[in-house]
């Protein structure tokens, strides 16, 4: 008997904190992806990224994507965290943790999830440029 995959989606305000250890019984591979705000965007220095989500839909879509990834790649668990609001440079705004019996489906499922998310999940980002911030002071 195969247990149902563990699925968890959380949108939260501001930078993501560290993750508690993921426990997925029987999983042999746990892969965690973290997206961190880089210091430049389009060649300009930024202070932060501001994320705007169409929230109920973003949550629905992330959850159905997580289920689809679990089905398609036979994953034991898919855990998604995404920031909304302002996330400063160097902070984490997105975390995806995938648990799986073996390595290959975990890595493939992760790549598939992120690619699909970029297309299908209504979360938009807007750079907060450093110079704009200085001008507005």
């Amino acid at each position: 008997m195969k247990t149902a995959p563990a699925i968890e989606v959380v949108l939260s305000e501001g930078p993501l904190g560290p993750e508690d250890a993921v426990r997925a019984p029987g999983a042999g591979a746990i892969v965690a992806f973290e997206g961190v705000i880089r210091p430049t965007e389009e060649g300009r220095e930024i202070a932060a990224i501001e994320y705007e989500a169409y929230r109920p839909m973003a949550e629905n879509q992330l959850e159905s994507l997580a289920r689809a990834a679990a089905d398609r790649f036979g994953l034991a668990g898919v855990f998604v965290r995404h920031s909304v609001g302002v996330v400063p440079v160097g902070e984490c705004s997105f975390r995806l943790v995938v648990a799986s019996a073996h390595r290959a489906p975990a890595l493939e499922g992760m790549a598939w999830f992120i690619d699909t998310m970029k297309r299908d999940v209504p979360i938009w980002k807007r750079p907060v440029f450093k110079d704009a911030q200085e001008q507005s002071r």
Binding site: Y54, N60, V121, W124
Partner: protein
């Protein structure tokens, strides 16, 4: 019927508003809603080729008919993460 369509991110920036009120014949298809928006709101038209209409928090086929009270939003050109 008059439909309210929510705008976010680049849509809200381009239009300078958070929602549109669009007059349409009763129970229009998703295609008709998108075409109507494209023709009436020139500020949005550069974004429309990659835009989908979300109906009640889901993507639906172009032939889907929109009803009174449905929650509508323009989605596409996303890029979270």
């Amino acid at each position: 019927m008059t439909l309210t369509v929510r705008l976010f991110g680049p849509y809200a920036d381009a239009q300078g508003e958070r929602e549109l009120s669009v007059d349409l014949p009763p129970e229009p298809t998703v295609s008709l809603v998108l075409e109507t928006i494209e023709s009436r709101y020139p500020a949005l038209s550069p974004l429309m080729p990659s835009t989908r209409l979300a109906v009640n928090n889901r993507f639906v086929p172009p032939s889907h008919e929109v009803r009174e009270g449905d929650e509508l939003a323009l989605v596409g050109m996303v890029g979270g993460g």
